[in-house]
Symmetry: C2
Subunit: 972 residues, 2 copies
């Protein structure tokens, strides 16, 4: 390894510690060296004192931090950290782990230098150990890998800046998320974690693993990356993340304290010790006990005082022959002992979805819960990447320029908390959901200033610039009122895309020209369509006349119906795609790929499952924010027929508006030059006046012979095969025929047979399944009447701004291809959905000296390469991540190693040095030295299939590989 060494000669190590510092001392496994001694001849019980601090759930993240609104839930993280630090100082044997950096960061900045010194020493001595260490403990079902990597990087960087190597977490810790994604495991492995612990898995799976002693395993988390690159030791915690029954000594618990004064009432030492010994049976001579739970340790003394006594009295029995040794420990110390045991571990290659905690309790509802928040989070990721890129490209003036002070940090932090497993998951209380959205909006407001500054630098024009936040509901005051305006488009992708733009205007005729003055193909109907193909173009739109027109705002379902002649056959066709509608039903009837000359039967309609009200004789489980439980496997169709309301045919777009009911409508669109069919659905307000909660799906029914198989992505990256009523690792007893077959999709799902693959690319995370041969269903929206008893305490019934009930709108992009060509379409299609162009507007024509075109890259990146990260690291350096966006074997063209020259990437930056880092950017790649684990199979030996870098500057990416570099740069 060692681009860093060859090119950079230790530059980074000289950096100032107080300012974005990477520790000058590379102390490998410092924390492990401070692990407590164990006794090899005894059963060692590792007590792990921990708190689980949700970065928002029933209260907002700041309410949790301060301990505000304790009437909702007693929880105050500031006090937890105060208290733990006090208690750790009382005895060097005591240990504590802390997980959520979003909270630790809040606390640290309020501490005195004295306290900081004490904490640093505790960290250096391994008494306080950071575990996981991301900004939050992310959700695994509904997050996108891009945002997950960012939020982990944000947290890990804070720890590295603050504590250096001793602050580097060695263990990933997802004790609460409701199911576990393989891509998360892959990310953790690539970030250098030695192991991963979690608390929740399917109850059948757990029962089997308990029986076969497979609670601990090696998870091979990628089918593309060469082992052990994505191998992660994974342990299921024996007791969720709670203490054993009867041993919860937090202020929030009611278990009996240890009463060891014989003069006082109810001396109970003997009883407690015996009870503890009875609980301690395991196969190895090491067991881990999680001593803590949600927001515990606010008064850490209660815990430590009683654990001190437990250790004292249990170990005192060793003198009488007991073979039990209790000690304060940490997950990494426990993991070290497991590693030293040198055992063979079972191998896991699939994932841990869906999660059920009982026969009728499938946590598959949250895959879709709060669809508007899920979309906003995804759009915010796009904006953050744009903000980050423009901060780099615009240079120092981006953050302090003509439009004031801007920053990307606020947005980074807002996105950091939004990844939490009760944030984008949709399982928080309503007021907390609003808080997440508010934070994202505030983050973007800070970014807007940065973007204005940056674009001013890049264009040479300081003319005011506005962003139209509400284009999805056709609101943009500037375009609606201006006779002449110009639009700037920033494309955050590392390659050229074609992107249709729709703007509300008040004229009927517009001349649209590009930066070269060339006319752009556009269409004025209710709004202007455009498409463009460049990274950063400025368009100049002139309305030639002012005509009174009908309002361009969309009022879904309220516009007058247009009756369609039922005999006419609707066929829409562009260069690549043809779509037919059934003349009787108004529904889609077939889809044809004109390039490959393949056609499938395709019917699409909307349905709703009747949410269980808990009055079922088999189980009282309701559908709620977490849990999806239809009270029947047959969904109700919303309308067997769609009324076709409007039909638009133009040179840029062809669209059909379908009306299904007052609360469900859809626009079907074909864009000129595009290979996908767009279904823009609008669902809501979901009616509940009938007393029935509704879980709304759209279902695509085809003649593809998919049998029981379908495919879903993991966090937007690698795809896993799913099979109805089946789990790869255990003999499933299916008890919920619908909910038990739902899986999360983050960017895509598909069904296929030998000839056809129908891929659906989505704009946000959703739940999806294939219940019938040739069918694919996606849950779009949910409105429920009951809480589902998992703590949130509210039914998921989101209020709307204008209506009683939230209206959600979104897009599904359909691609029909032969299976072997599918990735070539859906990979860029999905990436383009994730990173959308940013539009900004200026009134009038750009000033004379304005630079109308700019590209931050010297050239488009190779098609297989995605610019995952480009962000300012400090004054002189930027962080980049380059990603191979294809899986091994999925594309004949692209599933190959590809090489990029780091010095030839950017148009405005001279790259002076480069150091490769771990994926989390908190360790030099060359210093990564993960624990090795034996699975007893040859496959666990390192394979050398991946291509090497041809030269230090030329880095090669193998399929699904992400490489992370810190580049020392100079603005040109």
């Amino acid at each position: 390894m060692g681009v860093r060494q060859e090119i950079d000669g230790g530059y980074w190590r000289r950096m100032n510690k107080t300012h974005y510092f990477i520790s000058p001392l590379i102390m490998d496994n410092v924390s492990l060296q401070s692990c407590p001694a164990t006794n090899p001849s005894m059963l060692n019980v590792h007590l792990v004192p921990h708190t689980h601090d949700d970065v928002g759930w029933l209260k907002t993240v700041d309410q949790y931090y301060y301990g505000d609104r304790n009437y909702i839930q007693h929880a105050g993280v500031q006090y937890i950290l105060d208290s733990v630090i006090d208690q750790l100082q009382k005895d060097p044997a005591r240990r504590f782990i802390y997980v959520e950096t979003a909270f630790f960061y809040r606390w640290w900045r309020q501490q005195s230098q004295d306290t900081r010194r004490i904490v640093t020493q505790l960290v250096n001595e391994g008494r306080l150990e950071f575990i996981n260490g991301g900004w939050c403990m992310s959700d695994e079902a509904t997050t996108h890998y891009s945002a997950v990597i960012d939020q982990m990087t944000l947290g890990l960087r804070f720890l590295n800046d603050t504590f250096g190597e001793c602050g580097r977490p060695l263990v990933a810790w997802h004790i609460d998320p409701f199911g576990h994604a393989r891509e998360h495991a892959s990310i953790f492995a690539q970030m250098g974690y030695d192991g991963f612990f979690f608390g929740r898995l399917d109850y059948q799976d757990k029962a089997r693993r308990m029986k076969t002693k497979e609670m601990e395993m090696l998870w091979r988390a990628s089918e593309s990356l060469t082992p052990p690159l994505a191998d992660l030791f994974t342990g299921v915690l024996p007791n969720g993340y709670n203490p054993p029954e009867g041993f919860c000594w937090d202020q929030s618990c009611n278990d009996a304290p240890i009463r060891d004064d014989p003069d006082l009432e109810d001396y109970n030492v003997d009883e407690i010790v015996q009870r503890f010994l009875n609980a301690a049976f395991y196969k190895t001579n090491h067991i881990i006990m999680t001593m803590g739970s949600d927001f515990q340790y606010e008064n850490a003394n209660l815990w430590y005082k009683n654990m001190d006594k437990l250790i004292k009295y249990v170990n005192a029995l060793q003198a009488k022959g007991s073979k039990v040794n209790v000690l304060y420990s940490t997950p990494s110390c426990y993991l070290q002992e497991l590693n030293l045991a040198n055992l063979t571990w079972p191998l896991k290659t699939d994932d841990f979805f869906p999660y059920a905690d009982d026969a009728h309790d499938f946590w598959t509802g949250y895959f879709t819960s709060r669809p508007a928040l899920k979309l906003y989070e995804r759009l915010s990721n796009s904006r953050l990447q744009t903000c980050n890129q423009l901060e780099v490209l615009g240079g120092p003036k981006s953050t302090s320029g003509p439009f004031g002070e801007g920053d990307s940090d606020t947005m980074s932090k807002a996105m950091g908390v939004a990844q939490h497993h009760d944030a984008v998951s949709g399982t928080e209380k309503q007021h907390v959901a609003y808080d997440y959205a508010r934070r994202l909006a505030t983050g973007w407001a800070h970014c807007e200033v940065l973007v204005r500054n940056s674009l001013a630098v890049l264009s040479g024009s300081e003319s005011p610039r506005v962003f139209c936040e509400n284009l999805n509901i056709s609101v943009c005051p500037l375009t609606e009122s201006s006779q002449k305006f110009s639009m700037n488009v920033y494309n955050p992708l590392g390659r050229t895309v074609s992107w249709p733009v729709r703007l509300p205007v008040n004229g009927s005729l517009y001349n649209v020209t590009d930066s070269n003055g060339k006319a752009v193909d556009s269409q004025v109907g209710n709004y202007v369509f455009m498409s463009f193909k460049h990274i950063c173009n400025i368009y100049d739109m002139k309305s030639s006349s002012l005509l009174p027109l009908l309002s361009v705002r969309w009022f879904y379902g309220l516009s007058p119906h247009i009756s369609i002649n039922s005999k006419s056959i609707l066929v829409y066709v562009f260069k690549f795609l043809k779509v037919n509608f059934d003349d009787t039903t108004g529904l889609l009837s077939s889809l044809t790929n004109l390039e490959t000359n393949q056609t499938i039967r395709l019917t699409q309609n909307f349905y709703w499952y009747n949410a269980s009200a808990g009055n079922n004789k088999e189980s009282h489980q309701t559908s709620g924010a977490y849990i999806f439980r239809p009270n029947s496997s047959d969904p109700f169709v919303i309308n067997k027929t769609a009324e076709i309301q409007t039909v638009t045919v133009s040179s840029t777009v062809q669209e059909v508006t379908q009306w299904f009911s007052p609360w469900v409508s859809q626009v079907v669109r074909l864009y000129e030059g595009h290979r996908e069919l767009e279904l823009e659905w609008t669902v809501g307000p979901v009616p509940i006046a009938d007393g029935l909660g509704k879980e709304v799906i759209t279902r695509l029914d085809t003649d593809i012979e998919s049998s029981d198989y379908f495919y879903t992505d993991s966090n937007g990256r690698e795809v896993l095969e799913r099979r109805k009523d089946y789990r790869p690792t255990w003999d499933l007893k299916q008890t919920e025929p619908i909910a038990g077959n739902y899986y999360p999709i983050n960017s895509r799902a598909y069904i296929k047979d030998d000839k056809h693959q129908l891929t659906v690319v989505t704009d946000r995370s959703q739940g999806a399944s294939s219940i019938y041969n040739g069918s694919l269903e996606i849950m779009l929206h949910r409105r429920l009447l009951y809480d589902d008893f998992r703590g949130v305490g509210e039914p998921l019934s989101e209020p709307g701004e204008f209506f009683d009930g939230l209206v959600a709108r979104g897009r599904l992009l359909l691609a029909l291809t032969p299976p072997k060509m599918a990735a070539d379409v859906h990979r860029p299609l999905a990436q383009g959905m994730v990173l959308q162009p940013l539009l900004s507007f200026q009134d009038g024509t750009p000033l004379a000296n304005t630079k109308l075109e700019f590209s931050g890259l010297q050239a488009a990146l190779p098609p297989a390469v995605h610019l995952l990260t480009l962000s300012q690291w400090d004054k002189d350096s930027v962080l980049i991540r380059l990603e191979h966006q294809y899986q091994a074997k999925e594309s004949e063209t692209h599933s190959q190693p590809v090489t990029v020259n780091l010095q030839k990437l950017f148009s405005t930056l001279e790259v002076l040095g480069a150091s490769e880092m771990s994926l989390g950017a908190n360790q030099w790649k060359e210093d990564m030295n993960r624990l090795q684990w034996n699975t007893g199979t040859k496959a666990s030996l390192p394979l050398s299939l991946s291509a090497k870098d041809p030269s230090p500057w030329e880095v090669t990416l193998n399929p699904m590989e992400i490489r992370t570099f810190l580049l020392r740069v100079r603005q040109l």
Copy 2:
């Protein structure tokens, strides 16, 4: 002053600190010197951080200490002290007060030397200040002064032994008790407290005082003691003992924390500061704010962190002209400021009973609640005094002798917690009431060993000795089975008494002889009556024949009825008293004092008030453990007539058994040679099958012209005049005609006119009133169906051992005298009821060398003098308290100064030195230097009416005076 100096020459000051130490450094007002600086030009807000820790209530004292059974109530005192000590160390400005020594003692003994050193320093610096400092915060309505003085002494001594002068509390602090007794104030004054604060007083009284600014006053707490001996500065706390609304930052509160990070959500500093300033309006420029409440500060960081911020941000406004100065303070520091203000304060001479917190919410039920516990506590006091005395008289072998290790400490501590305002008050949960009783029983078990040892020393005989605990239900296995047994009687009074003894036996003829072999007048019926007149006699009882007899156990109400010829007139008469029964009703009809030749009409019967079920339109208040609220002013009579069941006439006793109902009966007794009529009532199980809670009273109706006046004692000492529907200090609006006229009695109540005084001496604390002219009623028992919403959360419905519902039995002693002779009767009568002889039994005749008589005193004390305390202080010294038991002017004979020679008191002890102490025995009398307060009246000037000591050894007691001496002694 200065017996100590003259006689003893500084002996005490050389004592070893670690062993019952009295501080060698007399540092006057050390704590006051450490008070925080105030600003005389500003309003100084004294924040007083405090916790109120009930020594048992919803949980037992040890459950509270450890934090066990938190599901009942979250409270763990061990953690409170841990946490506060930690937090005090973080900032020298922080203050804390601690009150309940029973808890502090438990905690201290578990602390390391390091922690003890830290705590001692905090105490020395005034950062941790002990306030009140008794073993508990005693109840004021239902406690006896003897036990109150003991429990205060126990707590204060621990503080003195542990911390010396800096641990001496300067302020009495009864923030929670439900009404305030004048005798308590008198005791506090005599213990050297500078002031007294409490939280609860009648809502009408409080409203008036708020208006007239009389919330702070000088309480002249004795009509007998020369001011300022019993003067006590008394303050009513503005907010009970809670923090101002919105400023409760304990973990148990939900008030918003101060959120002072402008980068986080909901910055609220400005709002909080403004709200605080709005709350701060008072007449002086000092106000006290109690920052704490029940069991708060378990996580003290929450409180201090937010108070630190409050102080910081409020005081920061001073720079902008604010005149508010907030500081951490203590009650004594606040008191010092009030004293320095040199104002004139209103004078208070009555008391604060009864306490009502609203129009229908009179806390007068607890005067009677749990009558059996109240009796057991009173008997336990008698036993403890006996135990203490015998520990002194028996010398070192008492605690370690032929019968093993015995001690009085266990009983002292059990009595200490039993004085708590949710203990003897009867306002605890049932399981806690059991715990108090268990502690008293355990205490007595320890004392039994001590007593056996001591009696072995004093008698020279180590023969086994048993105590018959259950004589009140005629159970004593030894006397019931032995043909010949001897009985030892220990009289703890300092004078000879006549005391009837009833023993269950199985013979029909007994020869009873005294220690000189002289026959003792006795009577065998179902049991043996005896009376004796000496301090310590041994009786030898021989049964001459064994005859099968009916069971001698009493089963109240179950024995067969004897029909009485309704025409016969029942008259019972002994030398001093004649009592008539109505031939029609079977009730008492008249009482005659044959000595004074006075007769009154006297009818006595039993009634019950129907307890309010809260369904009344005026108020939903129910009757409960605290609150007495009849739903009608007219009680139901249990029976208009009594059936006379048995009649016994003998030379020693004449008795009539009255049966009123299956659950109410009574024995009326005259003893030979006694001046009182004994009414032994048995009430219970109170039936509730009718769905009505019952509050059972007995009412004495006479032709005494008492008008609206009646008289009740205060904690068993001085008597206060009561007047129906009237309060001395405000214009009462009476809203509860019965409950609002109830007052606590601890030992006696009386009504009188010019000629007659009928005094009732009781065996325990009860509630009493006079609703009609010539009438006196006493509440005996209560059984209720509803909780009364004051926190205990249980209806007061005590289970019985054998029946559904507790059976209570007790005695009322009635004395009829002219008013001016009444005290001569009721003072010794009541004292004899409080300190009862202890009977012990041995099988067979005493061994030959047994010493059959012994008196610890050289001679009987003068009639006015009561030996209140005689207890071992340490190896070489004993603590005695001598009390003048008459009020000024109540007895022509006894209300005079009386002198006792300390060297001529004891028969077995040589008194080598004597030092007079404060009443609490934690300060030399000569060092007492209380703050002076001005009432603006001449009466506040010291009067010199009291007689002086004729010589150092001869101490003079003025009426109601108690003098406390530490005597250095040598066993003779």
